[in-house]
Subunit: 569 residues, 2 copies
């Protein structure tokens, strides 16, 4: 059984703790949300030392089960004031599990900026003075030099040190690109703990014990085969998540010009198809890149310039839309540079992209001005007034600038799907304890299904179902794209449950996934209620209800009664 | 030298008249506009017997020069109150020229509904009682039966008989599909003359005399080769004019929801690519169909249903957009049926499509309701209040319904290019004597050129240049698509001039095309000025200046000063 590693960063004390009955058999988001709900005072300020920061490996981490190495980062969010979990790929979760650690719990506040080295010997507290103020890329470079290239590095950039509300947490991929647990300002919590980085080294670790190896192997193998047989996977491998640009634009739901319209006239310029064409001509570009250990899909990329120099990895759909079409920016190379700058500074491209669009609407820079947008992002590093503004995300920026059209729920900006045409996704935006978020329950219609994303009816059911499923998936540590095939092919869910049962050497309820998801959502809901959230917080901004989304003319018209049914477990 | 055939339909008298010096060497639009300007009192009501209706063959008609058989129909327009020329393919112009007729001039009003039979013997006046009230398809069928399948038939449907302002004139293709001289309500003028049809039979005609045959042959051959070598021609042949749907949608300039937005989320469903896919599976569908004698391109189609029954031929871009995306209708089969109904009733799909969108905005039927739209078009035939309303076109419909967003200039509805993103086209819409029209000077950017269609600057020059060119092309009888290659490859213009010179056995000025165009535009401008038009009529509706076109945010901001420079010859 894996353990909790509690680290009191103030006292430089650490403790390996057996999972108490409340936390037993949990991992990933389920575990981090349970810990936050049970241990963090709901009314504490998110940047107070009494808040805790959790790094939880998923239930299947380190086992070799396909695509199950997501690392959940959890805390009370400085952006939303509610409970938060954001996860990223990389190999940190796998290394933690191999070290026998289900989750690391950071408590207190270090007196000086600190790097935590976690290995088979326990925890070392290293002075982070030499890397203070550095961007994530340099931090990774320096720590790799110091600790070797077998480690995982979790770090924050200048935005996290500044405790800005859109600050992200970086987790390295196996080839040392930063991947982001971007949402909810968890980098600011890490900054508030005066922790610059974690270095996780699994050398000498005993690995994860699987109780019934033959059964596990059979389940894992069937799951992998099922994922690879799923029709969409080939396209994801070839074009990555940017495959969605033309799809969602074609549906008229691509956030454009601060959610003013659902299609972008320059969509082709920022599409996966166009990127693939560019990458085929550019040296060193890598389509089908794998962001984490054990990935069998490869939906990421390494995006290079014409000379073959890496601009960023990976350049993903949400970033492309929020810093691209939503800001009327059509230059994919500039978007990639903005992405790099956000990664280096350590901010969420989505909340910052939404903030830039608001700054454009307020004439701080011109709509579509890519050079200006990149310069504005760089100002976060410099700490100018405008830099600090957008570094605090879309809500703070919009309120400061007097915007009447701030696309956020519970303080977190919306993702790259307009909720007026995709009302199931809109229902998830509204009702998730996480604030507006696409990974909690994104209802993209399958061409073969009868699901109508534009109907006001039936969205509560669709969103509830997906929120439960994805809460479980986030707890298992499985990536979103490996989880999609199991939505259409129910036998794949059986293979997941069988894999966990084999890992534990136990029989699991056939409703295991549903129960895991519901327990997670309940804990999150309970924390938020105790923190003062009411059903009035489960609403989309008024303009999505009033302004028809052209061309469809759709408004978000899922009833409040339906929204209130989503979390009625 | 070809002659004028003047027909006094009231007195049942006809006269072959030598072309007077003012009309000599003119044809097509140049000739019809000159006749209107010199002979029609500018303040006469368009439906008064004193108005004249001209059917003019282009200068190159009947010679075998590629794509030069357009028939110009001209008159004072009941829709705009100004001068009007609309042209169509088919083989009527070719047959007229072979009969030695450069243009037919209809004068007066017949006492009973009449069919005019024009052949080598002159004109016969045939009682049209048996075909009164019939749609164009039945009229064509009946007249073909009576006069054989070597004739050309020019006819009106019930809308023309009712003298509705959006009534069109039908001209048969070589395979007896109706092609439409659709714009400006010229069908109503024909109806006001109590003429149901012209049957043109060139049997026994002596044909067109070409003065220098070897030179002509050389010029015609080089022109054909040049046209066929033009890069866009292959796409036009494969997909037809609907190739523009995805192109213009991608540019964010596709009229959608009564010109509310520049992209349609269901554009793929009505695109040339989708049509080609459907047609490849449907029996009897014909891509690359030729609408007229001597065509070397083949950009039309015969669009059939799944069983192979013809729905309509040809289903073209402007129709698809005005009755499709602009009404939020995404069912290409329903659009084809609406097209058929408009052709049969004899109304312009564009003005009627624009009127339907206004009726949808006014909740007479639901936005996107294809079945309702088809039923509404059918009401034109029945003569219900709503039918008569939309049969009178977009301006009458919008004013009657109290719309503040009526997309028209000089009473004629805009074409399928939003002027806010395509400002050269918008400048042509505003300043043409014809009212809003795409064929007079459509400035679609060539990917290779430096032309910026969204700039407020330089559009007067672009529009002036194109209006002069297309006025000449319409006078030569050459189709728009054969004329485009000559815009990019100037030597092709030389071949056209050489062809005309060889036809006449004369030397022509190297500025021949420009002079022909300017003379035509001057005549049209003069008529309109005398009819009371001022520069205030050369403006787009206010909403194109006030409402930003999403997503680009463009407004139409070409200055009034620039618009007033367009016609300052």
């Amino acid at each position: 059984m894996l353990k909790l590693l509690r680290i009191d960063v103030e006292k430089q004390h650490f403790l390996f703790e057996e999972l108490s009955p409340e936390y037993a058999r949990l991992g990933g988001r389920a575990l981090s949300s349970s810990i936050i709900n049970r241990e963090v005072p709901p009314d504490v300020d998110a940047l107070d030392p009494k808040n805790k920061l959790i790094f939880a490996a998923g239930i299947l981490a380190g086992t070799g089960f396909a695509n199950s190495s997501r690392l959940s980062v959890g805390s009370k969010s400085p952006l939303t004031g509610g409970i938060k979990e954001a996860n990223a790929g990389g190999n940190a979760a796998s290394n933690l599990a191999k070290l026998g650690i289900q989750a690391v719990v950071l408590e207190g506040r270090a007196t000086g900026l600190t790097t935590l080295k976690i290995d088979a010997d326990g925890v070392s507290f290293v002075d982070a003075g030499p890397i203070k103020g550095l961007g994530n890329y340099q931090v990774i470079e320096d720590l790799k030099k110091a600790h070797g290239d077998k480690v995982s590095i979790v770090s924050i950039g200048p935005a996290g040190e500044r405790q800005l509300k859109a600050a992200s947490v970086s987790v390295t991929s196996p080839d040392f690109y930063p991947r982001m647990a971007a949402r909810g300002g968890l980098g600011a919590v890490m900054g508030s703990k005066n922790v610059k980085a974690l270095v996780i080294d699994s050398k000498g670790a005993k690995g994860v014990e699987i109780k019934d190896k033959p059964l596990f192997k059979a389940a894992a193998s069937k799951f992998t085969k099922g994922v690879l047989a799923y029709p969409m996977i080939e396209g994801l491998n070839a074009l990555g998540t940017p495959i969605l640009v033309n799809m969602i634009n074609g549906m008229g739901c691509l956030p454009t010009r601060n959610y003013s319209v659902g299609q972008f006239d320059k969509a082709h310029q920022i599409s996966g198809e166009h990127m693939a064409e560019l990458m085929s001509k550019r040296p060193n570009s890598v389509p089908g890149h794998k962001c984490m250990t054990g990935c069998v899909i490869g939906c990421s990329n390494v995006f290079t310039d014409e000379k073959g120099e890496v601009i960023v990895s990976g350049l993903e759909y949400e970033t492309i839309v929020l810093t691209g079409s939503n800001c009327m920016i059509d230059d994919i190379d500039m978007i990639a540079k903005i992405n790099w700058a956000c990664n280096d500074i350590g901010v969420d491209t989505m909340d910052v992209g939404a903030a830039i669009a608001l700054a454009m609407e307020a004439d701080i820079l011109k709509m579509g001005d890519a050079t200006g947008a990149l310069a504005l992002v760089s100002e976060i590093r410099e700490g100018t007034d405008n830099g600090l503004l957008i570094g605090n995300g879309c809500k703070v920026t919009g309120e400061r600038l007097g915007s009447k059209r701030i696309p956020h729920v519970k303080g977190q900006s919306l993702a790259a799907y307009d909720p007026r045409g995709l009302k199931g996704t809109g229902t998830s935006y509204a009702t998730s304890a996480m604030g507006a978020d696409h990974t909690v329950g994104n209802a993209i219609p399958n061409p073969l299904s009868q699901y109508d994303p534009a109907s006001p009816k039936g969205q509560a059911e669709m969103s509830s179902f997906l929120q439960i499923y994805h809460a479980a998936i986030d707890s298992l540590g499985i990536c979103l794209f490996a989880s999609l095939p199991a939505l259409d092919f129910a036998d794949l869910q059986g293979h997941i449950v069988q894999g966990v049962a084999a890992l534990y050497g136990e029989t699991l309820d056939r409703d295991y996934i549903k129960q895991l998801g519901i327990a997670t959502l309940k804990a999150e809901r309970e924390f938020n209620t105790n923190a003062g959230f009411t059903k009035e917080d489960d609403r989309l901004p008024q303009f999505f209800k009033d302004e028809p989304l052209l061309p469809s003319g759709n408004v978000f018209d899922v009833s409040d009664e339906d929204l209130d049914r989503v979390n009625a477990f």
